[in-house]
């Protein structure tokens, strides 16, 4: 077999996978191994597949993904911390034929933005929320998030999250699934190829449902913050499987009736 040389394989006509053009060429500022990058890519791939590049408005949060607008080659608004669902509400209502999604971290969505998240979902705003749950405030240096696990260390729970004092991790996704306004609520991950493919399908499904006017679609992605967790990326992914997934089990939480 070794007679096939690399040069023979590496030819444009043999290309089976490369980064979508819907992402710009700007180097992402994320830490090595951070799931944000992967999540960005599959969102972009779905938009590309839908041919919706010129018909989409994304809303970036405050959090590590605040600069998402530098990477997505689509129109993006950068929202105040926690308020992305409010922006998305207005955008979608004013331009109902656009594909509108927010991309938010767990601090953004489940702490300061709790009210906006719940009410947008409760109104059944016809938007998609992509929710990156890394159990920590990445951008500001690894503080405790609403989703930080019991006993998990962070810079504001340096001896581990003490649930007596600091409360329980908030399973906001399960709460949102209770609201009649949400059409599709799922929890996924992006640390292995299989999970990436499954998550991409989930995003596709969410966007398709949005196009049908089904109501709010919500895709949680449990991800790592290797920097905030103070681990190597590979260790972080392993830790995530062992610790985050039992608490935040992957899978669909609510799927449309029909």
């Amino acid at each position: 077999m070794s007679e096939v040389r690399l040069e023979d394989i590496i030819k444009p006509e043999n290309k089976v996978y490369s980064k979508t053009d819907l992402l710009t060429d700007t180097v992402m500022h994320y830490c090595p191994g951070c799931g944000h990058g992967t999540a960005h890519r599959i969102v972009a791939e779905v938009i590309e597949e839908l041919g919706a590049q010129n018909n989409t408005v994304g809303i970036a949060p405050v959090g590590c993904s605040v600069l998402a607008y530098n990477y997505f080659n689509i129109d993006v608004q950068q929202a105040a911390h926690g308020r992305a669902p409010a922006l998305a509400t207005a955008v979608k209502r004013l331009m109902p034929d656009r594909l509108v999604f927010t991309y938010q971290g767990d601090g953004d969505l489940a702490a300061i933005g709790t009210g906006e998240t719940i009410h947008a979902c409760n109104r059944g705003e016809n938007i998609t929320i992509i929710f990156i749950n890394n159990g920590i405030y990445g951008m500001t240096g690894g503080q405790m998030a609403p989703t930080t696990l019991p006993n998990m260390k962070s810079s504001t729970s340096p001896f581990g999250r003490d649930v007596e004092m600091m409360g329980n991790p908030l399973k906001i996704t399960e709460l949102l699934a209770q609201l009649p306004g949400t059409a599709y609520v799922t929890r996924q991950a992006v640390h292995t190829p299989a999970h990436v493919r499954r998550t991409k399908k989930a995003i596709r499904k969410a966007f398709d449902l949005q196009a049908k006017g089904a109501g709010t679609t919500f895709v949680e992605i449990v991800s790592n913050c290797n920097s905030g967790w103070k681990m190597t990326p590979v260790d972080a992914n392993k830790w995530m499987e062992e610790n985050m997934f039992p608490y935040y089990p992957l899978g669909d939480i609510k799927i449309p009736a029909e």
Binding site: M139, T140, S227
Partner: protein, 183 residues
């Protein structure tokens, strides 16, 4: 005496802690000190720098544009701070990864191959102490004994056992620094 220093390098090179040990040592020697870091969002990577001032009198501005000494640990920082050294001042740099060397003619330039030395000795974590040693060799603004006291104050108790190794690295730095140009 007032010594205005900038230390600049990659995020992981211990730039901030080097500055902190220097500052703490200054305090132990009864100096006025200030330590002013560059800071940014959390994401790993990127450059980092800190301005340390050690003085016998009250320090006015902790933030400066010109320095007596620049301690430079990568190319980007060299590009950024070479011109911020006062005429007649001191520039120390680690040549590792540097492809455009300093060009100024009106300043003292020293090289310290701390990266290589640290790798050679298997003490990568003490890289910054080697650099510190080199600086102190050239400008002994802080006496030896106060560096030890500074380490004691700045390291958490549980790391005190590492102080001898730190001091050894400082010693190494003093040995390996070499003058490139003196004015």
């Amino acid at each position: 005496m007032t010594e205005e220093i900038i230390i600049a390098g990659f995020g992981g090179q211990g730039v901030l802690s080097m500055g902190m040990i220097l500052a703490y040592s200054g305090i132990m020697q009864d100096k006025e000190v200030s330590w002013m870091p560059s800071y940014g969002p959390e994401m790993r990577g990127g450059t980092s720098n800190v301005t340390v001032i050690i003085s016998d009198t009250r320090i006015s501005s902790p933030s400066l544009n010109m320095f007596d000494t620049a301690i430079i640990l990568n190319q980007q920082s060299l590009d950024k701070f070479e011109n911020a050294v006062k005429p007649g001042g001191l520039l120390i740099y680690d040549p590792n990864g540097v492809n455009r060397h300093p060009e100024r003619k009106d300043i003292n330039i020293y090289q310290i191959a701390a990266t290589d030395k640290a790798a050679e000795l298997g003490i990568a974590r003490l890289f910054n102490m080697i650099v510190l040693g080199g600086f102190l060799k050239v400008k002994p603004v802080i006496s030896e004994e106060y560096i030890e006291l500074g380490l004691q104050k700045s390291l958490p108790e549980r790391h005190h056992k590492l102080i001898p190794d730190n001091l050894k690295a400082v010693q190494t730095g003093k040995e390996i620094i070499k003058a490139i140009q003196t004015v």
